[in-house]
């Protein structure tokens, strides 16, 4: 047998298992009695740098650096309309404006980003997100009902549906005061947020969020972070945020 033939056979042998592995890689999620994927559990963002800035940014004092969480556009840059990035940059210089620093709910998609756990509860037609920070709650019906009419809030109005094993949430009704991160990136009240949650292994839900906000961005863009399952001993704790929302002067005195 020639060296070439051996090489070809070796290549074939190495190729066949990889194809088989690929076929096996379609993850079969655990399921509830109703057949839906079982997302129940406590989860937390596995890409914490996005909580500081969803775009690529360096490590700095008080800021964990990292690559952009924006997967579309492919360059990872938020497609701001002319003048809108200047607003974000001004926010960044005035972080005291950050709504979260005043204990307001993060709102989607930022709600998925902080280094604090969130719990997913599934019951019948509802999927419920319980966030530790700010005690935010999103009770998401999946029965096909229409959006609330004329509603507005920090977390907006969420309506869920299943596309195969992916849970898709359509969010409108945001009050337009949300920031996307600590760096002052933002959206406004015209935003429509489409979130997609897919379990990709027993301990990871891939979270994607597409923001279509034609008065801030030139095109829809998509953010992606992994939600990692927290260890069994982690439970949600109270986060009575207003207690500590005070100025330095008040603290010292």
């Amino acid at each position: 047998m020639t060296r070439l033939a051996i090489g070809v056979i070796a290549a074939l042998l190495s190729f066949v298992p990889s194809v088989a592995a690929q076929d096996d890689s379609a993850f079969e999620p655990p399921r509830l009695e109703n057949g839906r994927p079982n997302f129940r559990g406590i989860w937390m963002n596995g890409s914490i740098s996005a909580a500081f800035d969803v775009e690529t940014h360096p490590d700095a004092f008080g800021t964990r650096g990292g690559q952009s969480a924006i997967v579309d556009p492919p360059d990872g840059t938020l497609p701001y309309l002319p003048g809108a990035r200047e607003v974000a940059q001004d926010n960044n210089l005035h972080r005291e404006r950050d709504p979260v620093s005043h204990c307001h709910p993060h709102g989607p998609p930022r709600a998925m980003l902080p280094p604090f756990p969130m719990q997913i509860v599934q019951d019948g037609d509802y999927v419920v997100f319980l966030y530790e920070t700010e005690h935010a709650v999103r009770i998401i019906p999946t029965d096909g009902r229409p959006h609330l009419d004329g509603y507005s809030s920090w977390s907006g109005d969420s309506r869920g549906r299943w596309e195969g094993d992916t849970f898709v949430i359509d969010v409108i009704g945001l009050n337009g005061r949300q920031w996307l991160d600590q760096a002052g990136n933002y959206l406004d009240a015209n935003a429509r947020v489409t979130e997609r949650l897919t379990m990709i292994d027993p301990d990871t839900i891939e979270y994607e969020s597409t923001v279509d906000d034609p008065t801030v961005y030139s095109e829809p863009w998509t953010l992606r972070v992994p939600l990692r399952r927290r260890p069994p001993d982690v439970e949600l704790l109270e986060y009575g945020c207003i207690e500590g929302d005070r100025d330095f002067a008040d603290v010292v005195n």
Partner: protein, 119 residues
């Protein structure tokens, strides 16, 4: 003593804007009060100046939740405890700081809950 390295807080407020990385400070003093609360806990302590006069400091740590998950408990600090804190001073020049680590009277060294990874 084991040195624990922790990263700056994911601020409820803006950590980088309020505290100065160029002004690290080590405070040794007596606990006056420990506020175990969210979104940040505060340690109030008296630090003696050169003349022996007590100077009151307020030192911020992570949230109750972050501290609890790192082993802190509500009574981890009691009034009268002598402690040592490695921290960064506030930019505004007040006697406030953000803690990196806290050494307890029994020598245990606690991460101040400022890690950016997990809470």
């Amino acid at each position: 003593m084991t040195l624990l390295l922790s990263s700056p807080a994911l601020g409820h407020h803006s950590f980088g804007a309020e505290f100065d990385e160029n002004m690290p400070v080590t405070l040794e003093g007596t606990v006056v009060r420990f506020e175990f609360m969210n979104p940040h806990s505060w340690i109030h302590l008296d630090v003696e100046d050169e003349d022996g006069n007590p100077i009151r400091w307020a030192v911020e740590t992570g949230s109750t939740n972050a501290l609890f998950r790192r082993g802190w408990r509500k009574d981890s600090l009691r009034a009268g405890d002598r402690i040592r804190i490695d921290a960064f001073r506030a930019k505004n020049g007040s006697n406030t700081a953000n803690a990196n680590s806290v050494e307890l009277p029994d020598g245990r060294l606690f991460d101040a809950g400022s890690s950016r990874n997990a809470n």
